[in-house]
């Protein structure tokens, strides 16, 4: 039976905030656009974002994009590219207004303007007093944004392929991307989608760690697809552990809780952040707070019978503020911790949360890859959202900057792509299609073998034990050996279920391959980086080393090879922010 083919001008893989905002730009042209998502669009993990999206609207107190830019550069521990950061912080303002015009039900101030709350790492006047820059729809901002973008895409008649799983990109001999092989989950049939431009907007990969705020579907498929197409991934060692996940479970409790006035205490009831960050205290940057919590627990000041977590106190905010501003986390606390946050503190511990690294792009969303002494655009390929690395977050992302990133660069990709669409479709590369089909057919192998879940559990545990909040040479070297063994074991994995219709076991097998590719990229990149910067914390190299390490890591799947490239320290119009010691 011949493979079914469909042709579109543009293919967008992923229907989270990044994919949907890219699609929305295209919908205003007469281009034919396909959006593929492995789940129904409103089930994408953008729906889970709670606290809000940053923009220097200045609705609550004075603010401007330049201060936002300073905070983001500092937050990134000087690994972010300053041209992209300037672009994002400027664009933040029209982006949020556009969201509002599209219908996002933001919370409001008495004067009718959008409500903004304080988040970690935000300051006025280049490091001065706390700013309030995070635009919020209660604590359901991601839900409000995702649903609105989906609704506007319905209005624009975007063509959706819901519950289709992208297997691999198709590349020709010149390295141009021609589209992707996808699988219709319901029927189990493959489909080839040809496109002049393809956007990867597949989100993050928190599932590589055992305890995570990320959904079951966050398996890094886009990064792994890029890797298999020969594109490197950048800065993968920088993975954010959010300080406040529900202890033992991982569900997120937004930083907005601390923004509204909540704070952390240890078993002695001490407000310990005062010791680690005398000025910003509980609103220090996430990497700082996560390390503080782990240190408290390690040094025996943890709470609970096993002394394995700390407490997040917010009952003093009062019933009214909590039910108005933080209704979602109250619900989550009740369900998963059995605690009513309006009465008792919540048990929390860091949870694997966000990938700073990803597929390298420029600020137009175009994927770039090293070539000769410089770099060049991968023809026909874009990436946006958490799977991309522009890089605006560098070594540590500030809360509220990811929703911003996905929207700003999703749109930038959508706009830039329109140029590409004037060209003709390139001829299909049949060998490339066969390769992608082989990846699918590999799972038809029958017989006894290791189970998908078994290997996945082992891999996620190994990642958690060996690539977590604190990383030493010893722990990581041992970890890498274990991970390599687990990767080798992949060839012994067999499915027992070979049916076609809605075969989720097969999907999970394909996801496992992707997880392992992402996990290896983290482990290899992390072991090599001999310094502490942002989320990458090495007790054996406790200081940041700008002379040797102020550079981006590039990881290639082929032979686990590493390469490096310089940080872009020149903004577009303003003076650069030179590296300084980072204190909060």
């Amino acid at each position: 039976m011949g493979l079914v083919k469909r042709r579109f001008d543009a293919l967008i893989i992923g229907a989270g905030g990044a994919g949907l905002n890219a699609a929305l730009q295209m919908a205003r042209t007469d281009a034919r656009v396909a959006v593929v998502s492995k789940v129904f669009p409103t089930r994408s993990h953008t729906v889970a974002a709670q606290g809000g999206v940053n923009a220097a609207l200045g609705n609550v107190m004075p603010d401007n994009w330049h201060w936002h830019m300073f905070d983001t550069v500092k937050g990134s521990d000087y690994l972010g590219d300053q041209d992209a950061i300037e672009y994002m912080c400027r664009e933040a303002i029209p982006t949020v207004y556009e969201l509002e015009h599209n219908g996002v039900p933001f919370s409001r101030l008495d004067n009718g303007k959008i409500y903004q709350r304080a988040f970690g790492g935000q300051s006025q006047n280049f490091g001065g007093a706390q700013a309030a820059r995070t635009c919020a729809a209660a604590d359901r901002t991601g839900h409000a944004i995702l649903h609105t973008l989906y609704q506007q895409n319905l209005h624009a008649r975007t063509h959706f392929f819901d519950e289709y799983f992208a297997i691999d990109l198709i590349r020709d001999d010149e390295g141009a991307i021609l589209g992707a092989l996808v699988l219709e989950i319901e029927t189990g049939e493959p489909l080839l989608i040809e496109a002049k431009a393809t956007v990867l907007a597949t989100g993050g990969f928190g599932q590589v760690f055992r305890t995570t705020s990320n959904a079951h579907i966050n398996t890094g498929d886009g990064m792994a697809m890029a890797l298999r197409a020969g594109v490197p991934v950048m800065d993968m060692e920088f993975f954010q552990f959010h300080p406040t996940g529900i202890a033992g479970r991982g569900m997120l409790i937004t930083e907005g809780v601390r923004g509204e006035g909540g704070y952390l205490i240890n078993k002695d009831g001490e407000r310990f952040m005062e010791r680690y960050a005398p000025n910003a205290k509980d609103l220090a940057s996430r990497d700082v707070v996560s390390r503080a919590i782990v240190t408290e627990v390690k040094e025996g000041r943890g709470c609970g019978p096993n002394a394995d977590h700390v407490l997040l106190k917010l009952d003093h905010l009062g019933e009214e503020i909590i039910s108005k501003r933080l209704p979602g986390i109250r619900e989550t606390g009740k369900i998963f911790a059995g605690v009513d946050a309006a009465r008792e503190p919540l048990p929390v511990f860091p949870t694997a949360h966000y990938a700073m690294g990803g597929i390298p792009t420029d600020r137009f969303g175009r994927v770039i890859s090293p070539a000769g002494t410089g770099e060049e655009v991968v023809p026909g390929l874009y990436a946006a959202g958490e799977c991309a690395c522009v890089s605006v977050h560098g070594a540590n992302r500030l809360g509220g900057n990811s929703l911003l990133d996905i929207l700003v660069f999703g749109r930038a990709a959508g706009l830039d792509m329109q140029e590409q669409l004037r060209e003709h479709h390139r001829p299909m590369n049949e060998a490339g299609v066969e390769q992608a089909m082989a990846r699918l057919e590999r799972w038809d192998q029958k017989g006894e073998g290791v189970g998908v879940r078994e290997l996945r559990d082992e891999f996620r545990k190994a990642m958690e034990d060996h690539a977590g909040v604190f990383r030493t040479e010893e722990i990581m070297t041992e970890g890498l050996q274990i991970l390599r063994k687990l990767r080798d074991k992949l060839s012994e994995v067999r499915l027992q279920d070979h049916s076609k219709v809605f075969n989720t076991a097969r999907i999970e097998a394909l996801e496992l391959e992707n997880l392992i590719d992402c996990g290896m990229a983290i482990a290899v990149s992390a072991l090599a980086r001999q310094e502490s910067r942002g989320a990458h914390s090495r007790p054996d190299y406790p200081k940041r080393d700008d002379i040797n390490w102020m550079k981006h890591t590039l990881y290639y799947r082929d032979g686990d090879r590493l390469d490096y490239k310089p940080v872009k320290t020149r903004p577009l119009t303003v003076e650069p922010f030179p590296p300084k010691e980072r204190v909060y």
Binding site: V39, F40, T42, R43, S44, H45, V47, A48, L57, V96, Y97, E100, H101, N102, G103, P105, F106, S107, R108, L109, D110, N111, G112, K113, I114, A137, R140, H143, A144, H147, T148, Q151, Q152, L154, H155, E186, A215, H216, I217, R249, M251, G328, E331, T332, I335, F336, G338, G451, V452, R453, L495, Q496, D497, S499, K500, V501, F502, N503, T504, A505
Partner: protein
């Protein structure tokens, strides 16, 4: 704890059957954890799920006769044997996975997007906290489908009756001070079916995992129609 789960694989079965699984429970275990445990025992067992915290709306199932979200349903609240079936009234694709297209069609049919006719201001469209408060209890819908697939009027007329979810959404836009399509929205709801098939049976209110009240929203729409008619 014993679980009786509904199984159906169209490549093999003519009709759904029940299969029993024994699952060891732990403190704080949710129904989704139990379903994952069953999938560990038999990887061919199939259900949708994703966020695991009640916000993505993927894992609605019928448990002991009631539609619920598996990931926020503690097993400690359930009586054994726990009977888990797909949502009633929808075509079954496999095991607990049903075809929700009709439900999504009804959502699309109410034109669920903000309509603004005035030119957009440079900044945000202003909205007072009181006006914004009218959207609370409406915008939080996660489209899980627990309500509409528990509604007898939707079972009998899924092509013609919008169902509680879509009507809640219609009211979400009618109630938004920024929306400027009230007349068109109300006109589109005229006729004996789309809106008026609601017989206030209130199953939707009982099952909504987000504590929303579609029946009340439907009442508001009817009131507004009445008001505009006089």
């Amino acid at each position: 704890m014993q679980f009786l789960v509904s199984r159906f694989n169209p490549e093999r079965d003519d009709k759904p059957r029940q299969q029993s699984f024994e699952v060891e429970t732990w403190r704080g275990m949710m129904l989704r954890d139990a379903l994952l445990e069953i999938k560990r025992q038999d990887e061919s067992f199939t259900f949708r799920h994703s966020c695991g915290e009640g916000v993505c709306g993927s894992d609605g199932v019928n448990v002991n006769g009631t539609n619920r979200l598996a990931c926020i349903t503690p097993v400690s609240e359930l009586n054994a044997p726990v009977e888990v079936r797909p949502f009633p009234g929808r075509p079954i694709i496999r095991d607990l996975v049903v075809d929700m297209s009709q439900f999504y069609n009804q959502y699309r049919a109410v034109e669920p997007w903000l309509v603004r006719k005035d030119p957009m201001p440079e900044q945000e469209i202003l909205q007072s906290p009181e006006e914004r408060e009218k959207l609370d209890g409406l915008y939080e819908c996660i489209m899980c489908g627990c309500c509409s697939t528990a509604c007898p009027s939707f079972w009998w007329n899924p092509e013609k009756f919008h169902g509680p979810q879509a009507l809640l959404t219609a009211w979400r836009f009618l109630a938004d001070s920024r929306d400027q399509a009230e007349e068109e929205r109300l006109d589109a709801l005229e006729g004996p079916y789309k809106l008026f098939r609601c017989h206030t049976i209130m199953n939707c209110v009982e099952v909504c995992p987000k504590g929303l009240n579609p029946t009340k929203a439907i009442g508001h729409i009817k009131q507004l129609m009445l008001k505009n008619a006089i």
